[in-house]
């Protein structure tokens, strides 16, 4: 046997760091987790009810490749209403199997071999492997705690070369909870225009922005033409399992993405698409209630972390916090593993989201206050014990 059965590129890609930790947690029965990356809320009932109704009506066929027109139209209305984005439902929108598919499609449709993709880190685990699989060259940008993990124009500029094609903009951010505000984005928009770079903006957490309004880079003058805008239903409407996302982009790019989607996926699940129409049209109240609940937990978690003497910047997006554990002189992985063994609390090490996540942990607050409290009490014990040992 001399032929390798598998592809060289994929063989060279390491499995997700989250996955590795998941396997340990899965074997430990009574562990409590603050490691989940999805909402704890059920999908609003009116959305589920619409899905049931669509099934009763026998709407179980393929939709057109780009998705139900009714849904695309509703998405455009929603984006206009919420973020002042104007897209044409006929030519500039496509419904995908979650935001993840859209990320993959965008890279595959846009990159030529050797094109560089700028990926700020810490960030979601799929950008680097997807860019690599598409033949691109991922170039990571280490974001800094002192900038509240925002991307600055200077950091961006320092990483641009002749080969740079796409900048990934993952805000509100998983795992840090960082957001980018208007002035941050204006500075970035200026750089990308000057260097003729495209932007892939992943705004899956846009609805979960606290204390300020979410701003999309695509809403700034002159940026829409060079932006691929990705969003979805998972985080905003607590619909992770429905696998429903969407992407808006200039027709020239979307056309090519649609071809890949057509051949690989056909269309997003029909039932989910009918549910999605109800979500974007009629769930503002439900979304606001969930956001308010997260915001309360966010304040609670921050107070608890600071209360146990951990340094943590105040994040205003998503449902994560990214405290530093550098004072303990161990790696994130070591800290998380020992915490899990000693106190049975599962937290994802920051390094799962890029090497620059070293010294940090990602704590999710997609949990009830009661669950947070139990887990944080245990974590506080652990931190106190560590400090006592050191003395």
């Amino acid at each position: 046997m001399s032929k390798s059965p598998v592809n060289q590129t994929i063989t060279g890609i390491a499995p997700s760091g989250i996955r590795k930790f998941f396997d340990i947690v899965a074997e430990m029965k009574d562990a409590i987790s603050l490691g989940v990356g999805e909402p704890d809320f059920d999908t609003p009932w009116r959305v589920r009810d619409e899905a049931i109704y669509s099934l009763e009506q026998g709407r179980t066929f393929y939709t057109s490749n780009a998705g139900l027109f009714e849904l695309k139209e509703a998405i455009c209305g929603y984006l206009d209403r919420k973020y002042k984005l104007s897209y044409d439902p006929k030519t500039e929108v496509m419904v995908t199997v979650g935001g993840s598919e859209a990320i993959d499609l965008a890279f595959r449709a846009m990159l030529d071999p050797g094109d560089e993709v700028l990926i700020p880190q810490p960030s979601y685990v799929s950008y680097v492997p997807c860019a690599t699989l598409a033949g691109g060259v991922p170039v990571t940008i280490d974001l800094k705690e002192e900038n509240e993990f925002r991307l600055t124009a200077q950091e961006l500029e320092e990483h641009i070369t002749d080969k740079t094609k796409i900048l990934v903009l993952p805000f509100p951010n998983n795992p840090t909870g960082a957001i980018m505000e208007m002035e941050d984005l204006v500075a970035i928009a200026d750089v990308i225009a000057r260097h003729d770079i495209y932007v892939l903006t992943d705004e899956i957490y846009s609805e979960l922005t606290y204390g300020t309004e979410h701003v999309s880079i695509a809403s700034l003058p002159g940026t829409k033409e060079r932006t691929v805008y990705i969003n979805g239903f998972s985080k905003a409407f607590a619909m992770t399992g429905w696998r429903l996302g969407y992407v808006c982009a200039p027709e020239e790019i979307l056309e090519q993405m649609l071809k890949i989607h057509q051949f690989a996926i056909m269309c997003a699940p029909t039932t989910s698409q009918y549910a999605g129409v109800e979500a974007v049209k009629h769930c503002d109240k439900e979304v606001a209630a969930m956001r308010e609940e997260y915001d309360g937990r966010r304040r609670y978690l921050l107070e608890r972390l600071r209360g146990m003497g951990l340094s943590c910047f105040e994040p205003f997006g998503a449902f994560y916090m990214f405290p530093s554990i550098k004072e303990f002189g161990m790696t994130s992985d070591e800290f998380a593993t020992r915490l899990l063994e000693a106190k049975k609390v599962a937290i994802v090490p920051g390094t799962a989201f890029g090497a620059c996540g070293e010294g940090f942990l990602r704590i999710s607050y997609a949990y009830s206050i009661e669950s947070l409290k139990t887990a944080l009490d245990r974590m506080e014990e652990f931190v106190t014990e560590l400090r006592n040992q050191k003395q």
């Binding site: 989250i18 930790f21 998941f22 947690v25 899965a26 562990a31 987790s33 490691g35 989940v36 990356g37 999805e38 704890d40 915001d295 309360g296 937990r297 304040r299 609670y300 107070e303 599962a346 994802v348 206050i369």
Partner: protein
Amino acid sequence: MQEKILNYIEKNSRIDLHELAVILGEDETAVMNTLEEMEQEHVICGYHTLINWDKAGIDKVTAMIEVRVTPQRGMGFDKVARRIYNYPEVNSVYLISGGFDFMVIIEGRTLREVAEFVSQKLSALDSVLSTKTNFILKKYKDHGTIMADAPKEDERVGVS
């Protein structure tokens, strides 16, 4: 701040003051003062407990009684209502638009206890024209809380 506090404690009145203040992002003393004011002004009328008596294995009979009355001279609906709601057996009294006037909710230990109250006290009031007693057979949801289903486990994968 008043509305924020009320919205929160309507769902969970047992939360401690410090945590409530942190969650709402308000000053602890200010929250405490607002709570006290609202208690004094009867904006907050009590901190009751929502109980699923069926689960506790304790028998209770609840009836929703539609009552039609004639408001008498010098005695509007409010006065008739008072004669009804002063009975401790009566849980709730609502003035209703539509085909009848009051919705009266009564809780007793047995069917007979409720029936006796209706026939001997409620129907016997001068201004009461008629009553229609509806016994509750099953409580699916009460005060925004679903009682029929078992509480759900967290089905999410532990780390994602």
